[in-house]
């Protein structure tokens, strides 16, 4: 087996749902040992969210949970009990990283905040992921993906609706992507802190606000509004989303040679010689006249044909694809983007891996997501040297 990038790194993850677990998954998939701490009796709330096989809910078969918790070890522990809190402290003493997503202040109430834990282990990096960060007027606000996504400006920026739909409310991006964004930003920051620790020997506390992680992804647009009180109206790109025979394609022929390539793909129509088509600015000003001409032509061709033929001509064009079409896409399959993992309850399933192929330290699917408490004995008896009897007692008194 190849080496892993994060071999030997010990991570504790006390998180639920998407952001924190995605941060943990990114590290686990590159070889870190991630111990996922779930509170009894139900564990991570993601276990109650679909998709489930045949839509039958089962705590070990949630597709959301399975995807976000690959390569982790799972233990049950209630840090809210005195004994559970002590156990978490012992685990933190041995760890390099703690990722936590409790509401601001709660870890301090439990005696598990950065100040307390760094006194036990000065090398520990603590990454706190919350909707709005540890400070500021919104810090105690509740917020789900819907709220954060819309508040951070994303839906106002990308939503250039056709005229007939402009009265409709803005719409959230699918797939809870903004929660993934928070986890990805947290993983970048956590690795940077670990890199710095190689020379300083010191850990630190990282405050991640999911709101700000989303906002930072629109930094270009925010900078525009912050610096130009009344920015010019964006007339819109010619092309973009276009209906075609069997769905939609997206065309971003922004540079001159790309527009010329698009005209070639379309057989150099006579109207392409008109003054309105002279350059990007004129085309944009006459978008309402030119766009229907593109639509009319695209409507006669299927999306995959448009994609391959267009790319051959040099047009940046992509088909709007479903998850099934992507799962069967030869390019992704040949690159090994999907892998199979076997799970004792959910069975063998196909999972997306990661976008990066690292020549020395490839993505590894060593194990599927843990069952609730699957590694209690391994960690508590093996790592912390509790006896079987102590383990039974801890289970009986609700510690684990």
């Amino acid at each position: 087996m190849a080496e892993t990038a994060l071999d030997g790194l010990k991570v504790l993850e006390y998180c639920q749902m998407i952001s924190g677990p995605y941060c943990g998954k990114l590290l686990a998939d590159l070889g870190a040992e991630v111990i996922k701490v779930e509170e009894p009796p139900a564990g991570d709330a993601a276990r109650t969210r679909g998709p489930f096989p045949d839509d039958i809910p089962h705590p070990d078969k949630s597709g959301l949970f399975l995807y976000l918790n690959t390569n982790k070890l799972g233990i049950t522990l209630s840090p809210r009990t005195t004994s559970g809190c002590q156990v978490l402290q012992r685990l933190a003493e041995q760890a390099d990283v703690l990722i936590e997503d409790r509401p601001p202040g709660e870890m301090a109430d439990l005696g598990l905040d950065y100040a307390a834990l760094s006194a036990l282990n000065p090398r520990l990096v603590v990454t706190s992921i919350t909707p709005f960060g540890q400070t500021g007027p919104y810090r105690d606000y509740k917020s789900h993906h819907l709220n954060l996504y819309h508040a951070s400006g994303h839906s106002s920026f990308f939503y250039v609706a056709p005229k007939e739909r402009r009265k409709e409310p803005p719409v959230v991006a699918g797939g809870e992507v903004g929660d993934y964004d928070g986890g990805l930003a947290a993983a970048v920051a956590t690795l940077a802190a670990l890199f710095s620790r190689l020379t300083t020997g010191q850990g630190q506390h990282i405050d991640i606000s999911k709101f700000e992680a989303l906002l930072a992804l629109e930094r270009v647009v925010v900078a525009r509004f912050a610096n130009t009180p009344e920015p010019p109206d964006w007339p819109g790109m010619v092309g973009g989303l276009l209906p075609c025979q069997d769905g939609h394609v997206v065309i971003t022929a922004v540079q001159e040679h790309q527009w010329q390539a698009l005209m070639e793909l379309m057989g150099n129509p006579a109207w392409a010689q008109d003054e309105e088509c002279r350059n990007e600015i004129t085309r944009s000003q006459h978008r309402d006249e030119i766009q229907p001409l593109l639509e009319e032509w695209m409507a006669q061709h299927p999306k995959e044909e448009l994609y391959h033929k267009g790319q051959t001509f040099g047009v940046p064009i992509g088909p709007v694809r479903t998850s099934a079409e992507i799962a069967n896409w030869p390019q992704a399959r040949q690159r090994g983007f999907f892998t199979h993992l076997d799970h004792p309850q959910a069975g063998e399933l196909e999972y997306p891996t990661a976008a990066y192929r690292m020549s020395e330290t490839p993505w590894q699917g060593e194990r599927a997501a843990p069952l609730l408490g699957e590694h209690n004995e391994q960690i508590y008896c093996g790592r912390l040297s509790y006896s079987r009897e102590q383990l039974d007692r801890m289970a009986a008194d609700g510690t684990i």
């Binding site: 080496e3 839509d55 509740k142 690795l191 405050d207 700000e212 900078a223 088909p319 020549s359």
Partner: protein
């Protein structure tokens, strides 16, 4: 000034446009020294044009967009069509830790700057190449931009109104790809610090989109089912939508996750129709969410975004205004956390810029230098780092090698 966590790391950056520069922007904000290789012959187009910000710029040094995506970087102008420029680039590689590039797969190899070429002069170099669909596979030469990545990665298909067309999202897609690249580079740096080994990283922008919505593929894997557009709806929560408020195009989002929150909302709204048995439990509320949304909208539409948000948050219900650019710039929370910071630029004056999305207790990220003027750091890189004499540099400028 405190040192950033990546202090001492040097990156030679051949990327342009949005996604690649965002990756190295994050690393620059973390303290790395990023040397951006550019040329008058092939300018990063964000220096010159953007329909989004208005007219085409007349100078390469006046673009707010370029500035924002290249804060803290250094600019070295090299005309890579000249073999001498390629040799100089390789000399900088020898004193660098990471090389990044996002040209069409194969271009860097043809220039003599592929991974094997760089490894020959710097055995432990880390190289990240980011492209539309990856540097291997039958479609490796295909190109794309943020909206095509969103389309092909599966995100456009699941974003949009219930009865509406798919939405290819926005430039944020590029920044997501860049953040993914930054993560991979950091993992490789951590590995190299412990083993001494560099490596080659081949990143597909389209796959980066798919990985960030990965669980939708599980539904296909489990049930052979394709997820599609659901507007603002959630799979279980209701109410879960945008509701109109006082004012033009003003909205508030409300999401109810449990009975406690539902009771709090119902008490606050005080509308007896919400007692109806159609809304008695979570599943019936979900089934009847259209009717439910109408009642909630009746309540929100005579109130301001702030009033609704504050009243609901006070009783423990998740609610937030839908904010646009001007509103975000004024937002009190972002102000208190100093998220927008002023940055002085020699050509365009003081500009507000967005801080990185992390706050470190020991190694705060730095915004201490704007995006570079074109070729601003030629003297530093060629003279100070490579030890060239002024005459030598002048000759290279005259020969349009440094150009």
């Amino acid at each position: 000034m405190t040192k950033g966590p990546l202090e001492g790391v040097r990156i030679l950056d051949f990327t342009w446009a949005w996604a690649g520069p965002h990756a190295t922007l994050l690393l620059a904000l973390l303290g790395a020294e990023v040397i951006k290789v550019e040329s008058r012959r092939r300018l990063d187009h964000t220096r010159l044009r953007s329909l989004m910000t208005g007219p085409t710029m007349t100078s390469p040094d006046h673009s707010v967009i370029f500035n924002d995506l290249n804060i803290r970087k250094l600019s070295l102008t090299l005309n890579l069509s000249q073999p001498k420029a390629v040799e100089i680039a390789k000399r900088v590689v020898q004193i660098s830790d990471v090389v990044t590039q996002n040209m069409r797969p194969g271009v860097m190899d043809r220039l003599g700057l592929g991974y094997d070429d760089l490894k020959a002069v710097k055995p432990d170099i880390i190289m990240l190449s980011s492209s539309a669909v990856g540097a291997t596979g039958p479609e490796r030469t295909y190109t794309g931009y943020a909206p095509t990545f969103a389309a092909m990665g599966g995100h456009a298909h699941i974003t949009g109104h219930l009865d509406g067309p798919p939405m290819p999202l926005s430039g944020a897609v590029d920044l997501r790809v860049g953040t993914t690249s930054a993560f991979a580079i950091l993992a490789a740096l951590y590995y190299r610090a412990r083993t001494g080994k560099g490596q080659n990283i081949d990143l597909s922008s389209t796959e980066a989109v798919s990985a960030l919505i990965g669980h939708i593929f599980m539904d296909h894997s489990m049930n052979g089912r394709v997820q599609t557009r659901a507007g603002n709806r959630d799979q279980t929560m209701a109410p879960h939508n945008c509701y109109p408020c006082l004012g033009e195009n003003k909205w508030v989002t409300i999401a109810i996750a449990c009975e406690e929150e539902w009771d709090a909302l119902r008490r606050l709204v005080g509308d007896s129709r919400l007692q109806d048995e159609r809304f008695a439990d979570a599943s019936s509320r979900w089934q009847n969410q259209e009717a439910l949304d109408q009642l909630i909208a009746e309540w929100t539409s005579s109130r301001s975004q702030e009033e609704v948000t504050q009243a609901l948050q006070k009783v423990g219900v998740a609610a937030m205004p839908v904010l646009d650019g001007p509103a975000l710039v004024q937002d009190t929370h972002l102000r208190e956390r100093a998220v927008l910071q002023p940055l002085q630029h020699p050509a365009i004056g003081e500009k507000l810029t967005v801080s990185p999305p992390w706050k470190f207790s020991r190694t705060p990220a730095q915004i201490d230098r704007p995006g570079p003027l074109l070729g601003e750091h030629n003297q530093y890189v060629l003279g100070q780092l490579l030890g060239m004499s002024s005459e030598e540099i002048e000759r290279l400028v005259a020969e349009e090698v440094v150009y």
